[in-house]
């Protein structure tokens, strides 16, 4: 029990929770923006993998985590282009396209990684930390929270900014109306196509960023099927959060807690089988889904392509 209470243990624990929660949070924020605009993106798992892989490759070649993150975002946007063109513009089935994107993303990243990096597995090392002066000296919490890389802070600021924008700006209103009642948006002079296109690009970029965060900061490497269902958890979290990004942030932390608790138990002497640790987040998610079944609300126009004048 003495280990349990030691300061370093708690510090490491909190840092792990955050490291696990961040990729999920970024992806879920992207999914939220997409779903609010009426697009259920089942391809997010594949988009995250593409983002993670591009970020990994770009970081290895450029040597800079920042350029790597940018590469991840671009990779995510490119992977999501299929959704943009086929669904938003041509109005084809979101479920089929989403699954296609997931399968292609899983397949191509797996093939490319094994082709290029199996012989010499590459690790990325760690990113220089950016301690916040003053705050970092707080015992226990300080080193866990305020000694993150700059990327962490950018991501947090980005999320908070998007939370504000989605709830309080004209852009947010248009986006939400594209999912709630696209015909009203159209009647009010907005463009459903443009609003949804922007939402899909943002959603792809954020999912790619989430994948990049996972590869560069959380695991510091890439491996095939790295996300292991994280994209689908992001969709669940999005559904449970009902479009509120602050709730997305909190639920992501719960997920981080679920992932971090396994290794932590092992440190203090309980041996938990790896399979249970892997299963735990999904168990929590399904329990949340059962408990909050009534409140997992999605926008009414989710999944339906919009056309002017259609009934």
């Amino acid at each position: 029990m003495s280990d349990m209470l030691s300061a370093t243990f708690i510090t490491v624990f909190i840092a792990t929770v955050i490291a696990q929660a961040m990729p999920l949070m970024l992806a879920a924020v992207g999914e939220t923006i997409g779903e609010q605009a009426g697009i259920l993106n089942l391809g997010i798992e594949g988009v995250m993998l593409v983002g993670a892989y591009t970020a990994f490759v770009v970081t290895l070649t450029s040597g800079s985590f920042w350029i790597g993150m940018l590469g991840g975002i671009i990779g995510g946007v490119v992977a999501n282009l299929a959704m943009l063109v086929l669904n938003v513009w041509l109005g084809l089935n979101q479920i089929v396209i989403g699954l296609a994107v997931t399968l292609i993303g899983e397949g191509i990243t797996g093939v490319l990684y094994l082709q290029n990096y199996t012989k010499s597995p590459a690790s990325l090392g760690t990113q220089p930390k950016l301690p916040i002066p003053g705050l970092v000296d707080i015992p226990v919490i300080g080193p866990a929270l305020f000694q993150q890389s700059g990327i962490f802070w950018i991501c947090i600021l980005l999320t908070l900014g998007l939370a504000f924008a989605l709830a309080r700006t004209n852009w947010g209103l248009s986006t939400r109306s594209a999912g709630q009642k696209p015909s009203s948006l159209d009647a009010a002079g907005g463009s459903v196509m443009r609003t949804r296109s922007i939402a899909v690009v943002l959603s792809g970029g954020l999912a790619g960023l989430g994948g990049a965060y996972l590869a560069l900061l959380t695991t510091a490497t890439f491996s095939p099927f790295l996300t292991n269902g994280l994209g689908f958890i992001a969709i669940v979290i999005t559904m449970l959060s009902r479009g509120r990004i602050l709730v997305v942030m909190i639920t992501s932390l719960v997920y981080g807690l679920a992932v971090a608790i396994g290794p932590a138990l092992q440190v203090i002497g309980f041996t938990v089988p790896a399979d249970i640790i892997k299963m735990l987040p999904f168990l929590i998610v399904i329990v949340m889904l059962i408990v909050f079944a009534r409140s997992s609300v999605v926008p009414p126009a989710l999944g339906t392509p919009y056309t002017r004048g259609a009934r």
Binding site: L90, I95, G110, V111, I276, L289, I290, R294, P305
Partner: protein, 379 residues
């Protein structure tokens, strides 16, 4: 005639033409996907010629065609399972977990049951338990869907991830073969496995699968239950008006779908593998899903597509290595088939080539934007 059929009869000149059009629409996406996957191979420095030659060599020539047909058994049963749910517009995507549950029932109970009872009886018990395990596993998504309308795609997927964990725990725990150090179940003796079709090395699971597909086709197109599924799929609201209990319909279709997929897992173990390793997940459902779309949710029409994929998968595993690729590349091909399927569907409907893959209800939602205003009002 199923409901979607009836809709499309008007305006076409006879069954032959309809068949030809349907054929074109089903085969073109596959061909396009193969061509583009060849280009992808070139782009990443692998040889498409080596790959496709390898698929032919290891999938068909010699006695390899028998391995391909053996692989068809689980694939086809998974296809029928998916079709049951998809016809009712229920997107059961928890197939990977459901399949593994059925498989672990066979590989876990098999070594015990075959010792205490006659092989035939033990096989029967295993099949029943596997189907029940699959059906029970689908209850949570089904009930959440029926009671609260919770999106079944997500719930079934999450349940699938949990099932993968449970199966691994079982294999590493109670079902572990203590004789080996690797986590796997005990091997079922050869003479307890499903018998071969005389003169071949194809187990009778293949026959069971074909029979199942034909029976399912009959149920869908010739019985009132099949019509009910189609009505329910087209519009749950309309189904309520004609007196169908939609809660039970959701639960029943989910249980049937999931039970069949679990059955496929049990057959695969008893026919092919005879034991199961931890972390083994063939992900058949991912590959089969596009195929059932191409077959327009018709079990018999799914047979040729499943046969095609069985050859691709059987030959592709070795061929991929030979061409300097990874097996994951098959996922890319499957994903491309899905993409080209939607695109062909789109172009085809614009050109009014023939009938659609999608059932009437889904087609309306998906294609509505591209009808002319006059058609839209009449529809």
């Amino acid at each position: 005639m199923t409901a979607p059929d009836l809709q499309n009869v008007t305006g076409t000149n006879g069954a032959a033409q309809r068949f030809a059009q349907g054929f074109i629409r089903s085969v073109v996406p596959v061909l396009l996907a193969l061509v583009v996957s060849g280009l992808v191979m070139l782009a990443i420095g692998a040889s498409p010629l080596d790959f496709f030659a390898g698929v032919w060599k290891y999938g068909i020539t010699g006695s390899n065609w028998q391995r391909s047909l053996s692989l068809m058994a689980p694939l086809l049963i998974v296809a029928v399972g998916l079709i049951v749910a998809f016809r009712g517009q229920l997107w059961n995507l928890g197939y990977n977990g459901q399949y593994l549950l059925g498989a672990v029932v066979a590989s876990g109970l098999g070594p015990i049951l075959f010792q205490v009872m006659p092989a035939f009886l033990a096989t029967l018990v295993i099949f029943i338990v596997a189907v029940l395990a699959g059906a029970v596993w689908s209850l949570i998504p089904a009930i959440l869907k029926a009671r609260y309308g919770t999106n079944e795609i997500i719930t079934s997927l999450v349940m699938s991830f949990i099932a993968v964990g449970v199966v691994n725990l079982l294999i590493k725990g109670v079902f572990k073969d203590l004789g080996t150090s690797t986590p796997q179940t005990a091997v079922i003796p050869d003479n307890d496995l499903l018998p071969y079709i005389p003169g071949t090395e194809i187990h009778i699971g293949f026959v069971i699968a074909i029979v199942l597909a034909v029976v399912a086709q009959f149920v869908f197109s010739r019985t009132s239950f099949g019509l009910r599924i189609d009505i329910f799929g087209a519009s749950p609201k309309a189904a309520r008006h004609v007196g169908l209990n939609s809660t039970w319909m959701v639960i029943l279709l989910f249980a049937l779908s999931s039970g069949l997929i679990a059955f496929a897992g049990a057959i695969d173990i008893l026919g092919q593998f005879s034991y199961q390793r931890a972390d083994w997940d063939p992900r058949y459902g991912d590959a089969v899903m596009p195929l059932v779309f191409l077959a327009r949710f018709r079990p018999v029409a799914a047979i040729p597509f499943v046969a095609f994929y069985a050859v691709l998968a059987t030959g592709g595993t070795l061929a991929a290595q030979q061409a300097g690729l990874n097996v994951d590349f098959l996922l890319v091909i499957v994903g491309l088939i899905l993409l080209f399927m939607t695109i062909t569907e789109y172009i085809g409907d614009r050109r009014r080539l023939g009938q659609s893959y999608l059932p009437a209800g889904l087609k309306r939602t998906v294609l509505q934007p591209f009808r002319r205003a006059s058609e839209r009002n009449s529809a």
